[in-house]
């Protein structure tokens, strides 16, 4: 993992970071599914203030997703059961990508499939799109060929997806996004690392549920859904820290990051970069504020980003 964090004097901070070949101007990205295709946010912030934007998960064919209700609020969090609704990789390439060609930050495509082959095919179609710099593999999806068990909770299946996608592409950086719904995150980290991932992002949503006690019915159309937001931050941080203990590739922290301080927790615990997710719903400029806030912290503490990374002093 090559580094490029120069601490320049005179209050100019270089917070750029290289994730194994993928150079970001700063360590702040937006989490898939919480930032649309990016352009929705231009009235509220400057996309160029971000290290990268990660767009909504793409599948081979368009998907219309799950029945309503699709979201439910929980204490300091929210459940979603969007069901990976998306316009499909082809419509993304033809309709959305041209609009993103000129923005001054990297575009990363989050991809998923119901079979290993579908993952690869989506990645292959993106391989020729210059605007897309990396794919983030969402392995928190049911494997239809294996009775619907989620790829992301089985190290063998997860590794199969990653190694096959990695072989299908040349130019694209391959980031793998882990599910937190596992006994030991370190097992998953090792599995996808051996499978050749270039970086690892974690965590996706925790499995959760809520009930309307007056109607005695689930508050999500699909009964269970994914929990995100500040509530899950302690869990995400612990997994990031555990992963940092075993990973050689760069790690990207995700889960409940709302403020600069939250992002710093992950970087101090070992993250090379972070993703801001649900926070963008609370404040559409949250990711930009976090990016600026990290610069301010580095300035105030006269540190470089690489000095900060993993600087946690443990007893």
């Amino acid at each position: 993992m090559s580094e490029k964090n120069l601490h320049i004097k005179e209050n100019k901070i270089d917070s750029s970071v290289s994730l194994g070949g993928l150079n970001l101007k700063n360590p702040v990205m937006t989490a898939s599914g919480t930032f649309g295709y990016g352009l929705e946010f231009t009235p509220f912030m400057d996309l160029a203030s971000l290290g990268a934007i990660i767009v909504k998960g793409l599948s081979l064919k368009p998907r219309c997703g799950n029945p309503a209700p699709r979201i439910a609020e929980t204490p300091c969090g929210m459940l979603n059961a969007i069901g990976l609704q998306n316009i499909g990789v082809d419509a993304f390439i033809s309709d959305k990508l041209p609009l993103l060609a000129d923005i001054d930050t990297h575009v990363i495509a989050n991809i998923f499939g119901e079979t290993v082959e579908q993952y690869c095919e989506v990645a292959r179609r993106l391989e020729d799109c210059e605007t897309v710099k990396a794919v983030e593999i969402n392995i928190s999806c049911p494997n239809v060929k294996r009775g619907g068990i989620v790829f992301g909770v089985d190290p063998v299946e997860a590794a199969k997806v990653v190694s096959t996608v990695k072989k299908s592409v040349k130019r694209l950086h391959v980031m793998t996004k882990l599910s937190p719904n596992v006994t030991d995150i370190k097992v998953m980290v090792r599995a996808v690392e051996e499978a050749g991932t270039d970086s690892i992002s974690l965590i996706n949503t925790l499995s959760g549920m809520a009930v309307d006690v007056e109607k005695r019915s689930p508050r999500l159309g699909t009964v269970t859904g994914g929990l995100s937001g500040p509530a899950i931050r302690p869990v995400a941080l612990k997994m990031l820290w555990e992963a940092a203990g075993v990973a050689a590739v760069p790690l990207i922290g995700v889960g409940g990051i709302t403020t600069t301080r939250d992002a710093l927790e992950f970087i101090i615990a070992g993250a090379a970069a972070v993703q801001v997710g649900t926070a963008s719903f609370m404040d559409p400029s949250a990711s930009q504020s976090v990016a600026h806030g990290i610069d301010d912290y580095l300035k105030r503490h006269s540190m470089t980003l690489s000095e900060l990374r993993g600087s946690l002093s443990t007893p």
Partner: protein, 276 residues
């Protein structure tokens, strides 16, 4: 212009009918009837999500309701919301005092199509309960509006007095018959509806479904403002999906987002079975 901003509370008081009036100091333009804002308390992350409230009226620099002119979009130095306290978010909102700050995102949504653009200068507006909200500004745009207001009882019905300065006939129905006609607002609509009516409706889903059905069978056009639980308000979370009839589905499929492609929809496009 859509923006995410902080605004100071000018007033936040209970009105005669129990609903609350919230005035905020905010320079805003491009405001249209049917627009909404996402509101939240700053420095609090529980409740996590912002709450959508429809734009009611526009205020001047002194915090007074702007005398209405027939112009759209509207602009002003402040905006007024009218809301009911129903749960945690609105309870928290009701505790805000003049001088307190709120965060708000908006104006959002498509708003109602303007009668002028639909080739007419009159329309029938049907509001149930808080469904009154979009019609103050709409009534201000019409030469000859008709507002049918369905209220639960006399207290609710008092809200109709807000419309007294507007060039708009107001008919009220109450469930208990204490004011106006006794019964549902759809009975009032039945009396007025003609094939060339342009109907706008906002209110509970069952009312909207009934209005849509009545308009359709009378051969009249109708537009409805829908509600869904929202997280982002700007079309990115895909949480507020509403189902469109197959024959009206576009290339993007049978779902539309209420926040960004609505909240106002041509009622013939909606798959009402999916709503209630």
């Amino acid at each position: 212009m859509k923006a995410f901003s902080r605004a100071t509370v000018l007033y936040n008081r209970e009105s005669e009918c129990g609903a609350r009036r919230l005035g905020l100091k905010l320079k805003a333009d491009g405001l249209r009837p049917g627009h909404f804002f996402m509101l939240r308390s700053p420095n609090t992350i529980d409740p996590l999500l912002s709450r959508p409230l429809g734009l009611y009226r526009v205020l001047d620099a002194a915090g007074e309701v702007l005398p209405v002119k027939r112009q759209s979009p509207f602009s002003g130095e402040g905006i007024e919301f009218l809301y009911n306290v129903v749960g945690r978010g609105t309870t928290l909102l009701s505790e805000k005092q003049p001088g307190d700050e709120l965060q708000l995102l908006g104006p959002l949504g498509n708003g109602f199509p303007l009668p002028q653009d639909l080739g007419t200068d009159k329309a029938i507006m049907v509001g149930g309960g808080m469904g009154i909200v979009p019609f103050y500004l709409m009534a201000a745009l019409l030469k000859d509006g008709l507002f049918l207001f369905g209220a639960r009882g006399a207290a609710d019905a008092a809200l109709a007095e807000d419309f007294s300065g507007l060039p708009c006939r107001v008919e009220v129905s109450t469930e208990d018959g204490s004011v106006g006609a006794k019964g549902l607002v759809t009975a009032l609509l039945a009396r007025e509806l003609t094939p060339d009516s342009l109907v706008y409706a906002c209110g509970p889903p069952a009312m909207l479904k009934a209005v849509a059905a009545m308009a359709a069978s009378a051969g009249a056009r109708s537009y409805v403002s829908l509600e869904k639980t929202m997280a982002c308000g700007i079309g990115v979370c895909l949480g507020c999906a509403v189902k469109i009839k197959a024959e009206h589905a576009g290339a993007r499929g049978q779902l539309k987002m209420v926040c960004s492609e609505g909240p106002v929809f041509d009622s013939v496009t909606i798959d009402w079975d999916d709503i209630c």
